[in-house]
Every structure is written in C-alpha cells, then in structure tokens.
Symmetry: C2
Subunit: 333 residues, 2 copies
C-alpha cells in the first residue's frame, strides 16, 4: 500500500512521541529515537512518555530506542528536535541516512545565529536527503490522545508529498499534501512571535476584539515576509499558516501565548527568560525576524514591538500605543 | 477636518450603540435612531443602553432619537439593524436619505428568502445611496468600553472609503480603508456558519487542534465562495475575513459559537432554535449558503454539514466522520 513501510522519528519529546503514535496508527513500522534512556525505557515498557506526555497512555505501539542508526535506517525519517538543535541532530544522523531518503522537518523556527530556515540547515548538513516539512495546528497532547487533527505535508516534489501524506494518514490524522516548502516553514516560524503579542493583549485585558485584530494584522506581516521569500499566498491561508496561527494564539496550552499573557499581566521579561522556564521559541525568533525584515525592507511593526519587548523591556501599553498610533492606511497597502 | 460633520446611525441595538460611541469619540456630531422609546430615553438621560449593553456607561455622548428623519438627515449614515431586517429598514429610511449620501452597511448576513447580499438590497431599496460596508473583529461590548479595535471600511470608491475611515478614527478605533465591498460582505456572512461548526467541535471536546483545522479548512471554503463572486484574496486575509473569523470562533461571547458549543454538548437543534433563544445568524445563513454553493458548483463540505445539522439533525460525530473520511487531497487543490 504505502510507499514507505518503516518510519524513523528523531527526537522523543512531546511532538516526536505524538508523531510516532501517528505513524504507528497509520500502520507503519515505527522506530522512535531519543537520547534519554529513562524515557525510551518507559515508552517500551509501558507505552508512556513520562517526561513529555505524562499521564497519556499511548494506544498505538512502536519501538523506542537510543540507537540513532536503527531509526535513521527507515524508509521515511521525521526530524522532530527543537528548531535550535536541528543542525546538531542532522549532523549527528547524516552518516546513517541513505541517499535520497525523504526527511520531514517537523520543528518550527529560524536558526538564531544564522537566520537560516530549517530547510537550509538540512541541505547543508544532510545533502543526500530529500527534504519535506510537516506543519499545522496540532498540539502534541491532542495528537497523542487520538483527537482529530489535520496538517500540511509539503515537498517540492508533489508526488513525494502525496506519498508521505498517505503513509501517515489515519481516520484521526489527516495530512494535506502541498509543494510550497518555504511557505510552510516561514508560517511555522513566525506564528510564535505573533502568539507572544496576542498573549500580551490577553494578559493586559484589552479584549478579544483587539486580539483578533492583532492576529489579522500580524498575519499580514507574515504574508509580506513569506511573499518576499517566494512563498505562495495559498499556503499562508492554509493549515500550516492560518490554522496553526489560530491554534497558537488561542490558548495557554501554547507556550508562546502563555509567555505573552504573563508579560501582559506585568511579569518581567528577564524572569520569563530565566533558566528553568518553559522555552518560548517566539522570544528567540522575534529578534532575528525583525532583523531579517529590516534588512529586506519589509514592514513588520508587530514583530518589531515583540523584539523590543523581549530585548529592551518595552512596556505593553507603549507597544499598543505605537501600533494604534500609526498613520491611517489602506488595508492592503 | 473630516469630510463628514454629522453621522446618523440607524439601529440602536448593541452594535449600533457601540458605533455611536465610536462616531462621537471621533468628534462627529452623532444621532442614533432606534424604535424602542425606553432605550432611547435611557441613552439620552443617562448614557446607557439598558436593553442591549446593560451596565456599560457610555463615555462618549451622542443624541438618541426615535425620529428616523433626524438620523437620516446626516452627512454619513450607518445602517446597523440585523441582516434579515436590513431591507425593511432601508425601505423605511429611503425617502429621508439625500442623493449621493454614503450609507455604510454594518450588519452581516445573506437574506434568506432571496440569497441576496446586503449590498444588493441597499441598491434595490435605496438606489440614491453611495454604498459602503464596515466589518471586522469587533464585539460591541469591547467597542463600547473603548478597548482597542481595528476594522475594515470598504467602498468601491477608495477615496470614499478613506474619508469614512478618517471620520470614524480615534486612538482606540482604527479603520482600514479598502475597496472590495463584496469580499467584505461575504466574509462577514459566512463566518457565522463556521463559528457554529467550530463551537460544535469545542462542545464535543475534540480538542483545540481539531478546531483550528476546521477554521482553516472553513476559511478555504469562504475563499472559494468569495472568489467566485469576484472578491479579492487579500480581503479575505484581512480584518473583515480572517480577523473576524478568528474572533467569532474564539469565545462564547459570539452567539454563533455559543450555539455550536451547545450543539456539541448534546443540545437538540429544535430547542436551540426555539423562540426566546439568542439569534444565531449562522443557523439562518447555513442553508442559503449551502444552496448557493451547490447551485454554483462550489465545494463547501463544512457549510453543508452545518446546514444538515440545523435542518435534518445530523449528529456531530457523524458530521466529523464525514469530514475526516473524505479522500486525501492536495491542500490547495
């Protein structure tokens, strides 16, 4: 049936574990690689990831291992480590991955030090891989529990995207194939920045109307940035764009939104960024996004105020006043 | 300063009253017309609309009246009655409105009996008016309280849209001008149908991921419908499209979303549609939208299941299974 009989998943965090259940549920032989021996042992012994998905009994079984070669030796590979560690993982796994093997990027972000998208990193570190990307509105807990989910799977070769979508599809997980890899990547990286802003509006109790306006105007910023990089408008309007943005800005289940709500309620940025706090990827991405936008002459006022909030401690009220005080303009100007 | 010194508002419900505060706050002489003498008296006596915005002290004062001619004799008119009564109100006011007077439609919906958009109705009943439309993410309570809000104001003549935007603008109310009247109208009408579906997913406890996917795929339906009518994709991605959709699907402050959550939790449609229940415009629009889509060959599976839920009592689980069980496809196919 499927073009892929086995799926290897690199990264046994919440999302990697959830995607392992997806592949297993779809009928693929599934191997999940992680570095934490205790997590791997618990996954194999009792079908639970006690560190990242505590309390969720994974109904679909798969093999977990600390042997990278075993996972990298599959027909299809999903790379699911955090954005800032994708380079290290790709480098580590490169020698185990066969020529032409499809590798699906499942993290979201921009490399802080270089401004590179994750696809660029994969091309540099694992040039023999055929790159693809999976993104969309999908909390790991929802997916692990088997609640209905729909995502985008993009590869430049549409047939490859179709084959990956088919390999992961099940009655509760519906992948839509697409070809605009860059569009999917950019939408995934920038929505985290907006989620911080939307959370701040919520935490400051400025009303749901203000929050929705901020999401819409922030979406216009993402579209401007993505268009400059050659992304298609259609992609941005889809699951990986609009869909994921809506999810990320809808609940404090999202770390970035939660980070914003605390800022809006008066927390100090330094305290929120201190070690031991949950990672808000958007706080890392805001500055590099602002810098890229400035360098390319793209108007991104919301990303800019988020970067200023994170870097210089700009206050929420001053940030709102700055956004509302801009000259009146045409919506699509 | 402004091209318009006076603003007449037809309809003293929650949204009409909120928009009267907007016009007054922007420095316009403002006249609000309503039929309920007790509401009008309370507005004039103590700056409160006890029926539709109870407990909110309106800080920006305006004149309220039961004299339609007084409101219709202004430089700029906002028509703010519910969608299904726009025709009756326009007919009633037509003889009082000067040739070439701009009339801004502020309701959202499709006339059930005819399938007409509100702009069509205005052209039929008040042909001397210059039509415009105001829409966007804006709960009346947020706007009446002076919380920050941004909306779209569209007119085919961009200069007119600019002038209306300038006339209503204040530090807490930011209108963006646009020219795509039909796009704004369609987005406003169809989002209510989607909100019912999103609410049902919430009420059935299917997870935020499923809800976000439904919003994204529903947005694709709205775009298909709007494109067929000549709307611009940009409009759909803006405040009146994406922004309003996000707001309407985010909280039970929205009557349509609340209607959906009750359905999802097991309430019977007939009970929810019974007299005395709050009006969920989307329940009225779903059937006519589905019929228009079928007649024009537009694929709208979500609008279709909402219509079937409302009309034939289709169950939520069957509706979800129908949506998830469709053949795999390209996202932008």
């Amino acid at each position: 049936m499927s073009a892929f009989s086995s799926v290897g998943i690199l990264g046994a965090g919440a999302w990697g574990t959830a995607l392992a259940t997806v592949a297993a549920r779809a009928g693929r032989r599934t191997v999940l690689w992680g570095r934490d021996g205790a997590v791997i042992e618990a996954l194999n012994a009792r079908g639970e990831n006690p560190r990242y998905l505590p309390g969720i009994a994974l109904s679909d079984r798969f093999e977990a291992t600390t042997d990278l070669a075993a996972a990298a030796d599959c027909d299809l590979i999903l790379l699911v480590t955090p954005a800032q560690t994708v380079r290290a993982t790709a480098r580590l796994a490169a020698s185990h991955v066969a020529e032409g093997c499809p590798v699906v990027l499942c993290a979201k972000g921009i490399e802080r030090e270089t401004g590179h998208l994750l696809g660029d990193i994969l091309a540099q570190e694992m040039p023999q891989a055929r790159p693809a990307v999976l993104s969309g509105p999908s909390f790991a807990t929802d997916v692990a529990r088997g609640l209905p989910t729909a995502v985008t799977v993009a590869a430049e070769d549409g047939d490859l995207a179709d084959a990956i979508a088919a390999a992961l599809s099940s009655p509760t997980f519906r992948p839509y194939a697409a070809t605009d890899v860059v569009g999917v990547e950019i939408a995934g990286a920038l929505k985290n920045v907006l989620a911080i802003a939307a959370g701040a509006v919520c935490g400051r109790q400025l009303g749901k109307s203000a929050e929705a306006a901020l999401i819409a105007r922030g979406f216009a910023e993402i579209r401007r940035f993505a268009a400059r990089r050659g992304a298609e408008a259609e992609t941005l309007m889809g699951l990986s764009g609009l869909g994921d943005l809506v999810l990320t800005c809808s609940t404090t289940q999202s770390r970035n939104y939660a980070f914003g709500t605390k800022l809006g309620a008066g927390a100090r940025v330094d305290d929120l960024l201190a070690a031991g706090q949950p990672l808000a990827e958007g706080a890392l991405t805001a500055g590099v996004a602002r810098n890229l936008a400035k360098a390319e002459g793209i108007d991104m006022p919301i990303a800019e105020v988020v970067a200023d909030i994170v870097e210089t401690g700009l206050g929420i009220d001053d940030a709102i006043a700055r956004l509302m005080g801009r000259p009146l303009k045409r919506e699509n100007g």
